[in-house]
Symmetry: C2
Subunit: 235 residues, 2 copies
């Protein structure tokens, strides 16, 4: 039985990574006098990885990691004006308009009619709330969980709280690592909808031969898949 | 009837503002060549207020506001090494050990035996989770809500979710502005336990003559007060 559909938000319902890439390009240009682009990206990614346990996911931690990287790669010579520009680009990310991905509204609307639909997202609390409010999708969801990480335990708790348990739940998202694999471990269905841009720290290999794993090019096919699963045509 | 007790966390169950003050003192020392202390505090507070809508509450936003202030007051002349020190002091805040306030454990333990107890706190998601885990109090709570702001609507939703509604709930905390006044507006009891240090943006006047408002010097008196309220000795 399938009762509850969980949606990831960033790059599943609306654009996100593209804003990070634009900011990273701006960061690269700002730092051009101090560091070649490839080396800068590598050092930034190292800082993000190193800081993940302290900062968690989201724009504020990303901004702090950019500043740290700017100081590091310049040997402490980056001018304050450049740091000011980095701060400004971080604040702009926190104000960017929300652009829904194709089929996002129609798919959530269709599934909300027959299933419990829950938004499960990680990132900065306030920023994720802002994006949900601006998306206009807020009223469609029966529950919203903004979490610090996406683990099997988190999915078990979220689908118990808002649904009838993870084994009767399906999670859809663009990240195999965060949206699909831990949900399969929790006993639910995992549907991967790839997005052209994926952050390096979200890369993972797809599961092989898992009977509850599905993949689709965009969200438009999800209502049909859910209908089939709910009727037991596939398990 | 009183069924559910909500606890604020920072400076109600464990020390918090003292770490902000220590960091601010370090910031003042770092900036001594660029700005007199009083002016620096004023500008930092302005930055925090201005950025609250974008950054929300918590250490990451505080660190970003310190960096912004350092650039501003120095007219863009602050060296990158000082910014690096500010970053480091922010990271240290995210790693500081949790020190419980007097009577915190005993009070939560006593009330958890007879009531639903819920932790309701604002701040950075991951940081608040870390502090709760380190506090050793996590298992005592029936529910935990980490929220982006504390409003009457937030309290109505949290006490509906974890209890039997805000009118049968009591919120205890050190901030009149965040813990007490919005809970009274939501129809519940509000108990103020002042802490010696209160952030300027949390200052508020106490309510006058509100029958559901109580104040006490520390948490040790809370179980008796709750017992009286539950028995209807006071309303």
């Amino acid at each position: 039985m399938l009762t509850t559909i969980g949606f990831d938000a960033d790059d599943t319902l609306w654009h996100n990574e593209s804003f990070f890439r634009l900011t990273q390009d701006r960061f690269t240009a700002l730092m051009a006098d101090h560091c070649p682009p490839e080396h800068l990206h590598e050092r930034l990614l190292e800082a993000e990885r190193r800081n993940l346990g302290a900062y968690g996911f989201g724009v504020k931690g990303f901004t702090l990691s950019m500043i740290e990287t700017a100081i590091e790669v310049s040997g402490g010579r980056v001018p304050a004006s450049v740091i000011g520009e980095i701060l400004a680009s971080g604040r702009e990310m926190l104000e960017h308009p929300v652009h829904l991905l194709p089929h996002a509204r129609a798919t959530v609307t269709a599934l909300a009619a027959d299933y419990r639909v829950v938004l499960i997202t990680k990132g900065d609390l306030l920023d994720q709330e802002r994006k949900l409010a601006q998306s206009g999708l807020g009223d469609l969801f029966d529950g919203v969980e903004i979490v610090s990480d996406k683990t099997p335990e988190i999915y078990r708790a979220a689908f118990a709280r808002h649904g009838t348990g993870a084994d009767q739940g399906l999670m859809v998202g663009n990240s195999l690592k965060s949206d699909v694999l831990p949900m399969l471990t929790a006993g639910g269905w995992g549907v991967h909808v790839p997005h052209g841009l994926t952050w390096a720290l979200e890369q993972a290999d797809p599961p092989t031969g898992h009977r509850r794993f599905h993949e689709m090019a965009d969200l438009s096919g999800l209502p049909d898949l859910v209908c089939h699963l709910a009727q037991g045509h596939k398990t």
